[in-house]
Symmetry: C2
C-alpha cells in the first residue's frame, strides 16, 4: 500500500485494504472508489450507481434461501446503497449465472423474479442484465438511480448525532442458526432473506439534513469506521442503545457474546446509519418513525479526532466487522 | 414460454429462449430486456447501460489469459454494447470475485488494472464496484454511458445494406487452438484477450445514419438474427464477403469448416454489424476506414420478410452461434 492508497477514507480491515490497493493500482483511471455509490454529475441531478455481487457459498448457501430470495436479497443490497445516498432508484441491471444443468429448470427465472419484486417495491424496474452458466449461483446487481445531492460518508461533523434506523443483528442471528444447522426464527430469517432497501427513509433523512449516511452491510462496528475515516472525525457509539433485531438474544447466547456486541458485529441488516445535525429535533424523529413505520434511534455522536469508540456500559469494546473474504 | 414471451424480438437459440422466459416472468417489472443496452431517458441525453458477466471456466480458462486481460476483456465486452448503441462511455462499475487464497496476491488488483486500462483507452473511468471471494474468478462489469439518440436493433429497414467493421473469427481461432492445447498466433490471441471496444466507430456510424447496430458477441449468424427479429425484416448475408480474422484459416481447417463458416459462427470478436441506409455512399465508407484505421465491409442487405439467409457461393448455410450455456 502506498501513501495515496490510504487517501480514499475507509476504516480498517483486510477487505478495505484490498480496496485501497485497487485504488492505488488504478490511479487516475478510477474516481470515487470506496464509497457506497458511484456518482456522476448530470444535467438535472446526480446519477448514483452501485454494484453488489452475491455468490453461492460465499454470501449465502443454497439451502438457506429460495431462489426468489437470492434475487431479492442481491438487488436489495445494491439498492440499499442508493438508499444510503438518499437517492431514488430508476432500475437495475442483473447479471445471473446458474449451473448449466439447471438453466432449463426455472432457477434463473425465479432469481430474476425476486429482483423484479424488490424493484417493484421501490418503484424501479429491471432494465437489463446478462445470463450465463456458472458452477455456483452468481448474481451481480448494478442499481442506478438519481439524487439532487447524494449523501456520502464524508460529511459528518463534530457535534452531529449518530442515528440508526430499525434494528440490528437479525440477519446475523439467522446466519448463526443456519451455520449450526438449526432453523432461524421467521423474523430473523426475513431480515437475512428479504431485507427492505430503505429508499424513502434514506430520502427523508437526506432531506432533513443528513451529513453522512451508510447502510450497515459490513457490520455497525465496521461501517461507522468508514464514516469516521472519510469525514475525518471520531465516532462514539453507545452499544447499550442499539435496538436489537429478532433472534439476537438466542443467537448471541449460542456464540457466547453479549447481544449488543453480537448485533454490532453483524452485517447485512441494511439499516441506515446516519450523522444528523446536533440540533435534529426529537419531534422530527417521531415524524420519521410514524411516516416510515421504522425505528430511528440516537446511538452516538461525532467528535473531533479520529477512529471509533464503541462503548458498552461505558467500557470500550473491540468488535470486528463482517468480512466478505473471511 | 407464453405468447408475450416471444415479443422481445430476439433471434432463435436456447440462450435467447431463457431471456424470453425471464422477460415473461418479470412482466411489467422489466423494461427493454433483450437489447444490448438498457436505455433511460434523461435530461440532456439518454443514459445507456450494459452489464457483462465473465466467469472462469465458462468464458475463459485461467491459463489462457493474464489477469489484466481478464479485466480488460470483461470491461471491453460491456463497453462494446455501448459502442453498438453509438454511445459514449462515462465509466464502469466492476464487481470482482477471486479465490480467498489469492486475495492477497495481487490478482484482484491486476484484474481491476485491466478494467482501468480499457476505460482509459476510451476516455472512461472506473466509478466503483464490489470485491468478493469466489471459487472461480468472476467479474461483472456494468458500463454506463450516454447518447443523444441510442441506436438499437430494431431500426433496420428493407433496402438497407449490412456492413461489418474489422474482421471476424480471430477470437474463435484463438479459442480453438487453446481447446486443442495449442498456442494461438499472437494476433488471434489478441482478438480474444484484448478486444477493442469500438466506441468512436460506433458513434461515427450512429451519426451517419445507422438504423440498427449490434456488436458481434454471440457470432454473426446469431447476432444478425437479432437485428432481423427486432426490426421485423429479413437479412441476407454473403459469407463470401466476410473479412477473415487472424488464424482463421488454420483453425477452420482443424475443425473441418470452411473459413467463412468458421468465422460466422464465432463469437466475441466485438466487431460492429450495422444496417446503413441503402444510399450510404462508398466515399463515406472510405472516410470511415481512414479515420478509424478499421475495415468497413458491405456484407449483405435487408429485405422484407423474416429470418436470416446466410449464403456461401450462393448456397444457404445453417450456422449456430456461440452459446454461453453451451
Amino acid at each position: 500500500m502506498t501513501a495515496e492508497a490510504s487517501d480514499i477514507g475507509l476504516g480498517p480491515g483486510e477487505e478495505f485494504d484490498l480496496i485501497r490497493r485497487v485504488a492505488t493500482r488504478l490511479g487516475p483511471s478510477a474516481r470515487g472508489l470506496g464509497d457506497d455509490c458511484a456518482t456522476v454529475p448530470w444535467p438535472g441531478g446526480v446519477l448514483v450507481l452501485s454494484s453488489d455481487l452475491s455468490i453461492e457459498g460465499v454470501h449465502f448457501q443454497r439451502d438457506w434461501l429460495q431462489p426468489v430470495e437470492i434475487g431479492w436479497r442481491a438487488a436489495a443490497a445494491a439498492m440499499s446503497d442508493l438508499a444510503a445516498a438518499g437517492a431514488q432508484p430508476i432500475g437495475v441491471l442483473a447479471a445471473v449465472g446458474v449451473p448449466g444443468s439447471e438453466a432449463g429448470g426455472g432457477l434463473t427465472e425465479d432469481i430474476m423474479g425476486g429482483v423484479g419484486e424488490v424493484c417493484a417495491a421501490v418503484g424501479a424496474v429491471v432494465l437489463g442484465g446478462d445470463l450465463s452458466r456458472a458452477d455456483a449461483i452468481t448474481i451481480d446487481v448494478c442499481a442506478v438511480g438519481s439524487a439532487d445531492q447524494p449523501v456520502g460518508r464524508g460529511g459528518a461533523r463534530p457535534g452531529d448525532s449518530l442515528w440508526l434506523t430499525g434494528r440490528l443483528g437479525g440477519a446475523r442471528a439467522a446466519l448463526t442458526m443456519w451455520q449450526r444447522h438449526r432453523e432461524p426464527q421467521a423474523d430473523a430469517r426475513s431480515a437475512f432473506a428479504r431485507p427492505e432497501p430503505l429508499i424513502s427513509a434514506g430520502r427523508w433523512l437526506a432531506a432533513h439534513g443528513a451529513g453522512a449516511m451508510i447502510d450497515v452491510s459490513d457490520g455497525l462496528a465496521s461501517d461507522v469506521g468508514h464514516i469516521a475515516a472519510r469525514s475525518g472525525v471520531r465516532a462514539i457509539v453507545a452499544l447499550d442503545l442499539l435496538p436489537l433485531g429478532p433472534g439476537v438474544d438466542e443467537a448471541a447466547a449460542l456464540v457466547g457474546q453479549r447481544p449488543a456486541v453480537f448485533a454490532a458485529a453483524g452485517g447485512e441488516d441494511y439499516q441506515l446509519l446516519v450523522a444528523m445535525p446536533g440540533d435534529f429535533p426529537a419531534a422530527a424523529a417521531s415524524t420519521f418513525r410514524a411516516d416510515h413505520q421504522l425505528a430511528l434511534t440516537e446511538i452516538g455522536r461525532i467528535e473531533q479526532g479520529a477512529g471509533v469508540e464503541l462503548l458498552l456500559d461505558g467500557v470500550p469494546q473491540r468488535i470486528a466487522g463482517y468480512d466478505h473474504f473471511g
